[in-house]
Structure formats: structure tokens, C-alpha cells
């Protein structure tokens, strides 16, 4: 049981490319708002689904519970982007990374540090970026 919320980093203004929220994904965004990164866990085969999706890609079951993911993981790789879509123009350059969480989930997210090549393979933790219109998840080197 994880009951400590993730560290939160405040950002002024709205999220540059806000996600849609559907009936299915609402629990994810509500939990993130409260500081918890979650994923649906298949009740039939036990697999975690990320990105969250209503059907299990492994066994096609819809049964699931939302579980809280532990924050610790490693940086699989990253890039810093210098040419962006219009929505993200104000953030240039920005870094994104592939993070492998200890819970066995791989995800893509913003990387809040000025990472360098030497940071690949190092430990990271997940954090919440709190914008005026809602949260995003991100990772930072520890």
C-alpha cells in the first residue's frame, strides 16, 4: 500500500497539449491530481496496462482494478527536442524519456532535469507536474 503522494512541481498556465479524459481514464487523472500515478491491473491475468486501456492486451479481459505504481525506476533512454509542434513551442527545448518503473511498467514522459548522456540507465522517480488546468506525470533523476 502506497500512501505518500508523489512530489508535485507547480507550472503556471495550462497543459500545452491536454489529454482527453474519458469515462475509462477518469480514475487515472483523478488519482494523478491527488499525487498518485496509477495503472489498471488485469483481474484475469494480473498484467498491468500502460498506457491505461479498457481491454487487457494479453487476455482481452475488461476486469481490472486501478493500482498505485511505485515511484522508483530507471531511465531507459531520453532525448532533448529542439523542433516542436506549435502547442509546445514555449517549452523548447524539452526533454522526454522512456522510464522503466520497478513495478514492471515502461512509460514515456517528460524528464524535468537537464539530463546528459551519462544519465542513461540511472535511477529516476516519478513526479506530478501540476498545471492550472490539471496534472501531467514526469520523471526526475535521483
Amino acid at each position: 500500500m502506497i500512501d505518500v503522494p508523489l512530489p508535485t512541481i507547480r507550472h503556471n498556465g495550462p497543459r500545452p497539449f491536454p489529454p482527453r479524459v474519458s469515462r475509462f481514464t477518469r480514475p487515472f487523472w483523478t488519482a494523478l491530481e491527488q499525487g498518485f500515478l496509477t495503472a489498471p491491473k488485469c483481474q484475469a491475468c494480473g498484467r498491468l496496462r500502460f498506457p491505461p486501456r479498457p481491454l487487457c492486451p494479453a487476455c482481452w479481459s475488461e476486469d481490472h482494478v486501478w493500482i498505485v505504481l511505485r515511484p522508483h525506476g530507471r531511465l531507459y533512454s531520453f532525448t532533448r527536442i529542439h523542433v516542436a509542434p506549435r502547442a509546445l513551442d514555449g517549452d523548447l527545448p524539452y526533454a522526454i524519456g522512456i522510464v522503466d518503473l520497478d513495478d514492471g511498467v515502461r512509460l514515456l514522459c517528460r524528464l524535468v532535469n537537464q539530463a546528459t548522456f551519462a544519465d542513461i540507465g540511472r535511477e529516476v522517480e516519478t513526479v506530478v507536474l501540476q498545471y492550472d488546468d490539471g496534472p501531467l506525470f514526469a520523471a526526475r533523476l535521483i
Binding site: 523542433v83 506549435r86 514515456l108 548522456f117
Partner: protein
């Protein structure tokens, strides 16, 4: 422009308008104002088709699908003479606006696109990981850009034909780190038209022609990255698709004279050559640096200059690759000619080689 390219292709193939009984168009993307370009094209060219008229798409594989579709229409008996066309115009659209559209294509729109991963950024992360895992310096991977420019110098269809030095590649401004301006594709426009027909019809022309000897496909069931930690560098869909293509062709990798690989970035060509089994894992960059993938090397790759130098209108590139493959095996590649080329492999892909489509072409004269 599309119409003119079609006329030229038909002339080269010895085909006249009423011969064409099916039309396949590589979906030109959202910048083309004319919707449903395929039926518009039929009307513009006065082509009444009794086999099929269809538009196909699938990320970078779009042009590959168009060619494959044409082949399939012949194989299934639905048509005898198919026109496959790709057209792409994006240079009139600002880059940032273009990226608004393209980030929706290469990621889960609600959980990945929100972070702004432009299509080539996925490859950039492969580059970083490759350098990390195999301890390869950036200049060894960057040499692929120089090699492809050397090939493009002798390709009259290429977008970039001026010589390029490794220093220039390494000192160019960063685009998606570690990749700089010359390691990622420039923005391009282009059009290609191909005629694919039954062998009986091809023989009638009395001209040399290329036969499709093998075909393989694989989709790994993943969109960009897996949801669990695993290697992102093995491009295993290509390994399987190539194996299927070689099996249907009844041939072996060693018999292939030249490879046209869909590779928008330097690192992609390197990883694709490794996935094909041309080189051991982690040694593809070094092999390229040692000229193994140059014209004259053991495995000439992207003899036309590839996405980086020939140019990369995404939906059209795989059709260009078929043109180059035909030029090579029919001995028409002039100063780019691979000596004695008989079998050519063409590869297109989608996502981050989450799927691969492979064709093997053979000369017949």
C-alpha cells in the same frame, strides 16, 4: 504533378490508359486539400478501372502498402495492370504546424503525444540507448549520413547532392539529441508512379522487367514502445518479416545484392541492418564506418541516398525505394550501379519498426 509522373511511368512501362485496370494511391496525408485524392486522380486521368481504386495508409509504411497492394491485386486476380501512386506535399506547411499533425500519429494520443514526442524523437532515444548499450560514439553512427550523401551525389532524383563531411554532420545544430540536422530527414515534397502488372503482360513489352519474388510482413503488436521493460533496439518485426520474405523467395540474405531500407535517421539504418542479420548487434555502426554498406561494400544499403539525402516525403519514400531497386537490378543505376545486382530487398516500416514490410525483387530480361 501526380498526373505527369503517371504519364511518364506508363510510357516507361509501355502501358496505355485503357490497360490500367486498378489504381492504388498512398494516402497523401492531411495537408492535401483535395480529399480522396485517388478518385480525383482517376477522373483527372480519365482512368476507368475495373479491378480496384483504393487509397491505403499506415504511417511510414504507406508507400510500401501502396506497392504491396498493387502486387496483391495482381496475385488475387483482381487486376492485370495496376497503377500505384504516391504524392506528398508538405513544404508549404510550417514545420511546427506539420508537427501538430504528426505527433498524433506516433504515440498514444492521450498518454504519450501529450509530452510532445515528435516522430523522430523515438528514433533519437534509440540512438542514445544504442550508444549507451554498445559503447558506440556518436561519430560512428553519424557516418551513415555521410555515406548516404555519397550515394545521393550520383542520383539525379536526389534532393541533396552536395558533398557532406563528418565534421559538418557532427557540428550541425541539434534537432532531437543526440541527432543533429543532417542525421534526421529534411522536409520534402515528391511524387512517384509505378506500374505493376502480370508477368504475361510484362513479357509482351519485350523489355526487361523486375519480378516480385518474395514478400514478408510482421507487426509486433506494439505501438512505439512496449508497456514492459524490454529491448527497444532489436527491431524484431523486421527480422521476422525479412525471414518470411526470404522464405517465400526461396533465397538467402547472402544472395541479396542491394537493400533499400526505410530509415529516416542514421540510427534507424544501423539498427535495421542489424535486425536483418547483416551485422552483429552493436556492430552495425562500425560496419557502416568501414564502408560495408556503401556501394562497392559487402551489403550496399540505400544506394539512392536514402531518406537523409535522396529526400523523404514520408508517404512516397517506399515507392522511391522500389524505383531504385528496379534501377539497380535492371542495370540502369549508372554511377550508383552495384555490380552484377540481381536481387534487391525493399523494406518499409511503421512506428519504430513496430511493423515491417519486405519485398524482394529480381531482374528478368
Amino acid at each position: 504533378m501526380a498526373a505527369q509522373v503517371v504519364r511518364e511511368a506508363a510510357t516507361m512501362a509501355g502501358v496505355s490508359r485503357p490497360d490500367i485496370d486498378a489504381v492504388v494511391v498512398a494516402h497523401p496525408g492531411d495537408h492535401t486539400r483535395q480529399g480522396y485524392f485517388h478518385t480525383f486522380l482517376c477522373s483527372s486521368l480519365g482512368i476507368a478501372a475495373k479491378g480496384n481504386v483504393i487509397q491505403v495508409l499506415g504511417n511510414g509504411m504507406t508507400g510500401g502498402h501502396a506497392f504491396d497492394q498493387a502486387v496483391q491485386l495482381i496475385e488475387s486476380g483482381r487486376a492485370e495492370c495496376v497503377l500505384a501512386v504516391g504524392v506528398h506535399f508538405e513544404s508549404g506547411i510550417p514545420t511546427a504546424q506539420h508537427l501538430d499533425y504528426s505527433i498524433r500519429l506516433t504515440g498514444d494520443v492521450d498518454f504519450q503525444s501529450i509530452f510532445g514526442p515528435v516522430p523522430i524523437s523515438w528514433y533519437a532515444m534509440d540512438a542514445h540507448r544504442y550508444m549507451f548499450e554498445y559503447d558506440v560514439p556518436r561519430d560512428t553512427t553519424a557516418v551513415v549520413a555521410v555515406k548516404n550523401r555519397e550515394h545521393a551525389r550520383f542520383n539525379p532524383l536526389a534532393q541533396f547532392r552536395d558533398p557532406l563531411t563528418l565534421d559538418a554532420v557532427l557540428s550541425a545544430r541539434p534537432i532531437v539529441e543526440p541527432l543533429g540536422l543532417f542525421e534526421v530527414p529534411a522536409r520534402s515534397d515528391g511524387a512517384v508512379a509505378l506500374i505493376v502488372s502480370t508477368e504475361a503482360r510484362a513479357k509482351l513489352t519485350g523489355q526487361p522487367y523486375a519480378r516480385i519474388r518474395g514478400r514478408g510482413f510482421d507487426h509486433e503488436g506494439i505501438h512505439q514502445i512496449a508497456d514492459v521493460p524490454t529491448s527497444a533496439l532489436d527491431y524484431s518485426a523486421l527480422t521476422r518479416a525479412a525471414h518470411r520474405a526470404l522464405t517465400t523467395a526461396g533465397t538467402e540474405l547472402a544472395d541479396i545484392s542491394t537493400f533499400q531500407l526505410y530509415a529516416p535517421c542514421t540510427i534507424v539504418e544501423i539498427l535495421a541492418t542489424e535486425a536483418l542479420g547483416l551485422f552483429a548487434r552493436g556492430s552495425g555502426a562500425a560496419a557502416a564506418a568501414n564502408d560495408a554498406t556503401s556501394i562497392g561494400g559487402r551489403y550496399p544499403v540505400n544506394t539512392c541516398g536514402g531518406c537523409l539525402s535522396r529526400g523523404h516525403p514520408p508517404e512516397v519514400s517506399p515507392l522511391y525505394d522500389v524505383v531504385e531497386a528496379c534501377s539497380q537490378i535492371l542495370g540502369r543505376a549508372e554511377r550508383r550501379q552495384v555490380e552484377g545486382a540481381r536481387l534487391a530487398m525493399c523494406v518499409s516500416e511503421l512506428g519504430k519498426y513496430n511493423a515491417a514490410l519486405v519485398h524482394i525483387l529480381e531482374a528478368h530480361s
